[in-house]
C-alpha cells in the first residue's frame, strides 16, 4: 500500500510540473491551453533523442556523476524542446487570434487544432508506436520504507522536480519577469499601460510553462518510453491537478499535483484495476467543480504573492 502511496507522490510531482503550464497560461490569458499535452510530448522526444545520441545502446552509466550529468542536461534539453513547442503554439495558434481580438471559443478550438496537428505530425515523422528510451541511470531500488520501494528514478524525480518547482516559484514571485507575468495576469490593460510588453510577457509565460512541461516529458520518457500520444493522459491529469490546486495559482498547482497523485494511486491498492485511476481522476475533477470550484488554495495568479 505504501508502494502505491509513494508512486502517487512521485507521479504527482510530474503532474505538478505539467500543471504549472496550465496554471500559468490560465492565470495570464484565462484560457485552457489544450495544446499543452504536445509540449510534454515534444519534451519527451527531445529527451529521447538526447539520450539516444549520447548513451544509445551503450552500457547504462553507473556513476553518480554521470547520472547527474545526464539528468541535468536531459532536463535542460527536454525543457528547451518543450519551450520551443510552447512558443510555436503561442505564435501560431494564439497570437494571430489575439491580434484580432477573437472570441474565447476560437482560442480553444485553435489550441485543440494545434494539439492534434503536432500530435499527428510527430506520429507521422517518428512513428506511432511507443519506443523505449535509453536509460541515463541504473534504476535500482535505493531504499525500502515500510514495504514501499524508492528507486533511483523516484529519487531523481524528487530532487529534480523540487529543484524545478523551487526555481519556478522564485522566478514567478521574485524576478522581474515574474513580476511582469503577475502584472499581466491581474490586469492586462493596466499592465500594458504601465509599460509591460504584453506579447513578450505572454510568450515568456508559455516558455516557462513549456520548460516545466518539457522536463516532465523527460521523466515520462525515461519511464515509459516516447510515443506521439504520450502527453494526452498526463496532461488531462495535470489539468485536474491544476483545478484541484486552484487554477491560476502557481503554488496551488504544485500542491494539487501531489495530492491528485496520492488520491489517484492509493485506491488502486484496494481496487486492483489500474485503469480505474483515470476514472478516479475524472471523478475528482467533477467533485472539485461541484464542491470547491476555486480549488484548495484559491485562484488568481496575481494576488497570491
Amino acid at each position: 500500500m505504501f508502494n502505491f502511496l509513494l508512486q502517487g507522490i512521485f507521479t504527482g510531482l510530474i503532474f505538478s510540473l505539467v500543471a504549472l503550464g496550465y496554471t500559468l497560461v490560465y492565470g495570464v490569458l484565462r484560457l485552457i491551453n489544450f495544446a499543452h499535452s504536445e509540449v510534454l510530448m515534444t519534451g519527451g522526444f527531445a529527451g529521447y533523442f538526447f539520450l539516444h545520441y549520447t548513451i544509445g545502446n551503450h552500457q547504462v552509466p553507473s556513476s553518480l556523476w554521470a547520472t547527474i550529468f545526464y539528468v541535468v542536461l536531459g532536463v535542460i534539453i527536454s525543457g528547451a524542446g518543450g519551450t520551443v513547442a510552447a512558443l510555436v503554439i503561442e505564435r501560431f495558434a494564439y497570437r494571430p487570434l489575439r491580434r484580432r481580438n477573437a472570441p474565447k471559443l476560437a482560442y480553444l478550438i485553435s489550441a485543440i487544432g494545434a494539439s492534434y496537428f503536432l500530435l499527428n505530425l510527430f506520429g507521422k515523422e517518428f512513428g506511432r508506436y511507443p519506443v523505449a528510451t535509453s536509460q541515463p541511470f541504473n534504476n535500482h531500488v535505493v531504499v525500502t520504507l515500510w514495504g514501499g520501494q524508492i528507486t533511483m528514478y523516484d529519487l531523481v524525480i524528487l530532487v529534480a522536480t523540487l529543484a524545478l518547482l523551487f526555481s519556478l516559484d522564485r522566478i514567478v514571485y521574485r524576478s522581474k519577469m515574474g513580476r511582469a507575468i503577475r502584472a499581466v495576469a491581474s490586469d492586462m490593460e493596466t499592465a500594458s499601460l504601465m509599460g509591460v510588453n504584453v506579447n513578450r510577457t505572454i510568450a515568456s509565460t508559455f516558455a516557462l510553462g513549456g520548460f516545466m512541461g518539457g522536463a516532465a516529458g523527460f521523466f515520462l520518457a525515461i519511464n515509459q518510453g516516447v510515443s506521439n500520444n504520450m502527453g494526452f493522459k498526463p496532461a488531462l491529469f495535470a489539468f485536474t491537478a491544476a483545478v484541484l490546486g486552484g487554477i491560476g495559482n502557481v503554488r496551488g498547482a504544485m500542491v494539487g499535483g501531489v495530492i491528485l497523485g496520492i488520491v489517484m494511486f492509493t485506491p488502486i491498492y484496494w481496487l486492483g484495476q489500474p485503469w480505474l485511476e483515470e476514472v478516479i481522476a475524472f471523478s475528482v475533477l467533477v467533485l472539485i467543480l461541484l464542491f470547491r470550484p476555486t480549488g484548495i488554495l484559491g485562484e488568481r495568479l496575481g494576488r497570491t504573492a
Binding site: 476560437a106 485553435s110 494545434a114 494539439s115 496537428f117 507521422k124 512513428g127 476514472v279 481522476a281 475524472f282
Partner: protein, 611 residues
C-alpha cells in the same frame, strides 16, 4: 471614391515588414504542407520524412503554392487597407460599355469570334476531362474529340453559357435573364448542372447510350462519384443563390443588388431538386459509396447537427462528444442483449432510440450542471475527460462491456407490424440510408425551428451578453445545460444507428479523436448554420475517402488528424465563422472582434463575488 481625394498620394508599392512577414508565413505554410503530404518517417531515421519532403522535387509545387498564397494574401490585405487602390481620375468604362459601343457588324463579328473561341476552349476542356489513357493536347486529338459524345455536352453548355453572358453584356436583344420567370431560371440552371455533371464524368463511353445511365450496368456513369460532386456543388450554389436574402439594413451593404427574392415556387423547386438528389441519386452509386453514404456521411451529418446545437447555437465547446455517441451505441447493445449484463427486456432497435435519447440526455445534464455552473471553458476539458473515461470503460470494463473483444450481436432494425415484416439487411445499405434520411430530415427541420424560436434567440442573447440576458430574467445555466443535453441526445440517436449497422461494437469505434472530427465538421461548414454544418459534414467526410481511394496528393488515411488539426487552426485564424456561415453568428464574431459583446458562452456566469 470621394475619400481618396483627401488622402495624400499613396505609394503604389508600399511593401513593408508586415508584408514580408505575411509572405514568409505563407511560404512556411506551403513547406509545412509539403511535409504533411510527404512520406512517413520512423524514429530510427528521424529526419527521413522531413528530408524527403523538403529536399526532393516534391517540395517545388508546395513552395510555389506558398508563394502564390502569399501574393494573394498580400493583395487581399493591401486592397483591404486601401494601399493598392488605384486613384482614378475618370471613371473607367466597364467591359459592357466598351463592347456595346461597337457598331452592329462588329458586334456580330465579336460574337462569332468569341463563340468560336469558347467552343475551342470547351473542346480542350473535354479533352482534359476525358479518359486518362489518351494523349492530351494535340490538334489531332482535338479533331477526334468529335467522335465522343461528351464533347457535344461541353459544346452545348459552353455556347449556351456564352450566349447568356454575351446577351447580358452586349444587349443584343431586349431579353433579360432576370425577367425570366424564376422557376424557369432555376430549372434551366438545374438542367445545365445535370448536363455538366453527366458530361464531366470520365466514365462516359465514347458513344452515349442510355445504358450508361443504368445503375446496374457494369461501367455505369453513376459509379463515379464526381458526377455527384458536381451535382451537389452546383445545386448548393444554385440554392444559395436563389435563397439569398436581403441584408438587414444597417448591416454591411451587399456588393451586388440581390439576385432573386425567395418566392414560394422557388422554394418548391429547390426542395424538389434536393429531394430528387437525396432520394434518387444514391441508387446509382456503387456499393462502396452507398455504404459510406450511411456510415461516413449520414451518421456524421446527424452528429454534426447535434454538436452544432452545443457549439453553434449555445456557444459552448464539447470535446468529448463521441462519449454520448458511444453511450447511445452501448445502450443499444445492452437492450439487444449483446452485453454481459442482461437487460430486463429486449427491445426492437426502434424502441431503443427513446432510451438512448433519455440516457444520453441525463448524462449530459449530470455532466453539464456542475461544470457549466462555473465556467463555460471548463466544459471543454471536462467533456474531454468524459470522452476518455467512456472509452476506457468501454475498453477495460470487461465485466460490463466485453472490452476490446467487442460486444455480441446487436439486433437489426426490424418491423413487424400490421402484416408488414421487414428486417434491415446489411447487404442492402440503402435501406439504412433511407432510414437515416427519415430521421435526419425531421431533425434538420426541428433544429432549424428551434434556432428561429424563443430558445434560439435566447441562446443568441446568452452568447452575446450573458449579464444583459440575465437581467431580463433568462436563466443562462438552464439554457446552456439544455443545449448540451440536446446535443448529447442527438449523438445518442446516432449511436443507435451506428450500433445497429455495425452489428458488433468495438471500443475503437469511439476513440476520442472522433470528437475532434465532428468538431471540425461543424467549424468548417460554419457553426450555427445548419446548412453550413451539413455542407461541412458532407464535404469533409467524403473528401478523405475520396482522396484515399485514389491516393491523390500523397494523402494517407493515417494523416487524417494531421489535416484536421491544421484545418482547425487555419479556420480559426482566417475564417472563424466557417465557409457557409450563419448570418447571426458571423455578425457576432465580427462584433466581438471589434469589442462589442462576445460570441460564445464561455465567460463566468456566477455572481461576481466580491472577495
Amino acid at each position: 471614391m470621394s475619400t481618396e481625394s483627401t488622402v495624400p498620394k499613396r505609394r503604389y508599392w508600399a511593401l513593408n515588414g508586415e508584408d514580408a512577414r505575411r509572405m514568409c508565413t505563407a511560404i512556411v505554410g506551403g513547406l509545412v504542407l509539403a511535409i504533411m503530404t510527404g512520406p512517413e518517417g520512423a524514429i530510427s531515421d528521424p529526419t527521413y520524412g522531413v528530408k524527403t519532403s523538403l529536399l526532393t522535387g516534391h517540395v517545388v509545387g508546395y513552395f510555389i503554392f506558398g508563394v502564390v498564397l502569399g501574393c494573394l494574401l498580400t493583395y487581399r490585405a493591401k486592397v483591404k487597407d486601401g494601399t493598392w487602390r488605384r486613384v482614378r481620375t475618370a471613371r473607367r468604362r466597364t467591359m459592357s460599355e466598351r463592347v456595346t459601343a461597337f457598331s452592329s457588324i462588329w458586334r456580330y463579328a465579336f460574337l462569332a469570334v468569341t463563340t468560336f473561341l469558347v467552343a475551342l476552349i470547351s473542346l480542350i476542356f473535354a479533352d482534359f476531362s476525358g479518359p486518362v489513357t489518351r494523349n492530351k493536347m494535340s490538334v489531332h486529338v482535338l479533331e477526334h474529340q468529335f467522335l465522343y459524345t461528351r464533347t457535344y455536352g461541353y459544346l452545348v453548355l459552353a455556347v449556351a453559357l456564352w450566349f447568356v453572358v454575351v446577351n447580358q453584356v452586349m444587349q443584343l436583344s431586349s431579353f433579360k435573364l432576370r425577367s425570366l420567370p424564376r422557376p424557369v431560371l432555376g430549372l434551366s440552371a438545374i438542367i445545365a448542372i445535370l448536363l455538366f455533371s453527366l458530361t464531366s464524368d470520365p466514365f462516359l463511353p465514347a458513344r452515349f447510350s442510355w445504358r450508361a445511365l443504368d445503375p446496374h450496368a457494369s461501367n455505369s456513369l453513376f459509379h463515379h462519384w464526381t458526377t455527384y460532386l458536381w451535382l451537389i456543388l452546383g445545386l448548393a450554389v444554385t440554392i444559395s443563390w436563389l435563397f439569398r436574402r436581403d441584408p438587414i439594413d444597417g448591416a454591411k451593404p451587399a456588393r451586388r443588388s440581390r439576385a432573386l427574392a425567395v418566392t414560394p415556387e422557388m422554394r418548391i423547386i429547390t426542395y424538389v431538386a434536393a429531394g430528387f438528389i437525396v432520394f434518387e441519386a444514391p441508387k446509382y452509386l456503387s456499393l462502396y459509396w452507398q455504404i459510406s453514404l450511411y456510415q461516413q456521411i449520414g451518421v456524421f451529418c446527424l452528429l454534426a447537427i447535434g454538436l452544432n446545437i452545443v457549439v453553434g447555437f449555445a456557444g459552448l465547446l464539447d470535446l468529448g462528444y463521441v462519449a454520448f455517441y458511444a453511450l447511445g451505441a452501448y445502450v443499444t447493445a445492452y437492450f439487444s442483449g449483446a452485453l454481459p449484463l442482461h437487460p430486463p427486456f429486449q427491445l426492437n432497435p426502434f424502441f431503443i432510440i427513446p432510451f438512448a435519447i433519455i440516457i444520453a440526455m441525463l448524462s449530459g445534464v449530470l455532466l453539464g450542471l456542475p461544470t457549466l455552473r462555473l465556467r463555460g471553458d471548463y466544459l471543454a476539458i471536462v467533456t474531454l475527460g468524459f470522452g476518455e473515461i467512456v472509452y476506457v470503460l468501454a475498453n477495460d470494463w470487461t465485466q460490463v462491456t466485453y472490452g476490446s473483444a467487442g460486444t455480441g450481436a446487436i439486433t437489426n432494425f426490424n418491423v413487424h407490424l400490421l402484416g408488414i415484416n421487414y428486417v434491415w439487411n446489411p447487404v442492402n445499405p440503402l435501406s439504412y440510408y433511407y432510414l437515416m434520411i427519415g430521421i435526419l430530415i425531421p431533425a434538420i427541420f426541428l433544429f432549424d425551428f428551434l434556432n428561429h424560436s424563443k430558445v434560439g434567440r435566447t441562446w443568441a442573447a446568452i452568447r452575446e451578453d450573458e449579464v444583459a440576458a440575465q437581467s431580463l430574467g433568462i436563466n443562462a445555466l438552464k439554457y446552456k445545460v439544455m443545449a448540451f443535453a440536446m446535443g448529447a441526445s442527438t449523438a445518442g440517436v446516432a449511436g443507435v444507428f451506428t450500433a445497429v449497422k455495425v452489428g458488433h461494437l468495438f471500443p475503437n469505434t469511439f476513440v476520442l479523436q472522433l470528437s475532434i472530427t465532428i468538431l471540425v465538421l461543424v467549424i468548417f461548414g460554419g457553426m450555427g448554420s445548419i446548412v453550413g454544418v451539413l455542407f461541412g459534414a458532407i464535404v469533409l467526410q467524403w473528401l478523405p475517402s475520396y482522396l484515399n481511394f485514389h491516393s491523390y496528393f500523397g494523402y494517407q488515411q493515417a494523416d487524417l488528424y494531421l489535416y484536421i488539426g491544421a484545418l482547425l487552426v487555419v479556420m480559426m485564424i482566417f475564417r472563424p465563422q466557417g465557409l457557409v456561415p450563419s448570418r447571426r453568428r458571423r455578425r457576432e464574431i465580427l462584433d466581438a472582434e471589434e469589442g462589442l459583446g462576445s460570441a460564445d458562452a464561455l465567460g463566468a456566469i456566477t455572481q461576481e463575488q466580491p472577495s
